[in-house]
Symmetry: C2
């Protein structure tokens, strides 16, 4: 069944996107060429951009509201990992012929739900047609007190390596979606799939780590734990060591890995976790434990920064684990 064509660009913006900018001064109701923001001079502006392509970053049959929320959340996760509180986002969208108004209405309801949840608003963008796959690009703006941003390059040798939440759920969720975890209970599979569809950006944790000056370096785990810890190592000119026995796993992920120990690779390199991986001087670990209690969020020490280079992964038996791929890579 062919989808009914979309209305013209201007009607589309007025009907679906302008409500997402409502009440936001400077967005001009999405009727101008640009948006206008007056920023707090005590804050630094933090900007991040991510593109998502159907068939590459999400499945084209995924529910549109989840596609929208994931697109927004991966950007909020980047801001959080830098210690920034979100301000606004800009979205460009290239819609293929199969996208109809029902799809768009559901997509925008997902954005509206997450705008309410994270206190952020759409302030501009562009919509266009494309003969190819649905392609979204979001640029998110946030702010962090001057000099407090958490950068990848700021780790110190001897820092503890800490990660929020649990690892591997999203990668195992994608595997479950493809029928690869039939041995798990339906509830466990659902938990993993939900984490693949809907990241939980740590928008409270990141700013609190930055504002209190607790963390040295930070990154969000999107490419995979080993790859992202590798980014901290490269930019900081250091190495790191992590122990698989200390990696925080959800009950569902633990059940999956118990049945098939080879799935630990998914936990180490699968990516799409959107947890915050950060480094903390040993003297800061009490503050980390306190923050974990206040946020009711696991913050787990999984290893430490070393003077060497590269990421060393040590198994439960103390032997080093060799990995063939450090994470998902395009091209």
């Amino acid at each position: 069944v062919a989808a009914a064509p979309l209305p013209d660009e201007f009607s589309l913006i007025a009907r679906y996107f302008a409500p997402l900018a409502e009440g936001r001064a400077g967005a001009e109701g999405l009727t101008d060429d640009a948006a206008f923001l007056t920023l707090d001079p005590a804050q630094e502006l933090v900007v991040t951009a991510d593109a998502l392509v159907a068939g590459v970053h999400f499945l084209s049959q995924d529910p549109p509201a989840l596609v929208a929320r994931k697109a927004l959340r991966v950007n909020l996760s980047d801001l959080a990992a830098k210690g920034a509180r979100p301000l606004a986002y800009f979205m460009t969208a290239a819609f293929p012929p199969g996208v109809d108004e029902a799809w768009l209405a559901a997509f925008c309801s997902g954005l509206a739900a997450d705008q309410a949840e994270y206190g952020v608003a759409l302030m501009g963008g562009d919509t266009t047609s494309t003969p190819g796959p649905l392609t979204l690009s979001i640029t998110a703006l946030g702010q962090v007190p001057r000099g407090r941003a958490l950068k990848r390059r700021a780790a110190k040798a001897g820092d503890a390596v800490v990660v929020s939440g649990t690892l591997g759920d999203a990668a195992l969720g994608l595997l479950a979606l493809r029928g690869g975890l039939a041995g798990l209970t339906a509830a466990a599979q659902e938990h993993l799939i939900d984490r693949y569809h809907l990241p939980r950006p740590r928008t409270e944790l990141g700013p609190m780590l930055a504002e209190a000056g607790i963390a040295h370096a930070a990154i969000d785990v999107s490419d995979g734990l080993v790859a992202d810890l590798g980014h901290i190592c490269e930019t900081s000119g250091l190495g790191a060591e992590v122990e698989t026995g200390r990696l925080p796993l959800s009950t569902a992920a633990a059940a999956a890995v118990d049945g098939r120990p080879d799935l630990m690779t998914k936990v180490l390199t699968g990516g799409d976790d959107y947890e915050i991986l950060f480094t903390v001087p040993p003297a800061g670990l009490d503050a980390v434990a306190d923050l974990s209690r206040r946020l009711d969020l696991p913050l787990t020490v999984i290893g430490r920064m070393t003077a060497g280079g590269g990421v060393r992964v040590v198994g439960a038996d103390g032997s080093e684990i060799a990995l063939d791929s450090a994470g998902y890579r395009h091209f």
Copy 2:
């Protein structure tokens, strides 16, 4: 001949994109999740975003350096029309299998050339693979003194409608590329095609109009003169009247329209002009004439804002011209 596959995302960024961020504090050499900007508190931040899709906004066989420059310039044009001076841009790019390193090198050389010309730098973004057409999204950041931004909704009845440069060249250039202007000299066709490939964003004019408080409302002509003047009318709650006899045409465009008067439609609705269309109270026209001399740029009064609604186009003989389409529309 199949193109050689691109290197992985991280090598790609290091080799081609990081040089475009070199020396820019806060860009972190494109090795972090985000960029950091400290802004002048006397200025307002202006943000605009545009997507370009191969086959929709440019032709896939267009020279890559020109594609790059056009993508950047359409965003600089939006900033200029708001009176903002450019600060930085963020780009996401989805590359199909046909893009190889030679293409990318040429593309980035185009960006480098325009960065030097317009004093702007790449500060972040994302690259990904796509099975579909090459898709680019650029978000550009600029700044304008607080309260000085030129908005679409600020026109007043009685304002003169002024446009920079010449109109219709790009639309006629696209027609020439498709072989539709064979009657013109080669030099005239080349002039028009060049204007289609390479917009001239009015990055000096816009900020000067804003800083000196000369203009009320402004917009850049991208959808087409009638459509974009229509946007000013709608947001300002006014009408406008323009006279075709007053529209500034290049020698090449004038030659095209002389031979085929129906081509005046291209001038009125073709779009892709990237000139600034602005409204000025009659008392400000001396300042406009002065600015035109200082910038060596034609600034032509083509009509006026009226109390009614909609855009009325009046021909050289004084009769109203009916147009079937007000400009290019997606979907």
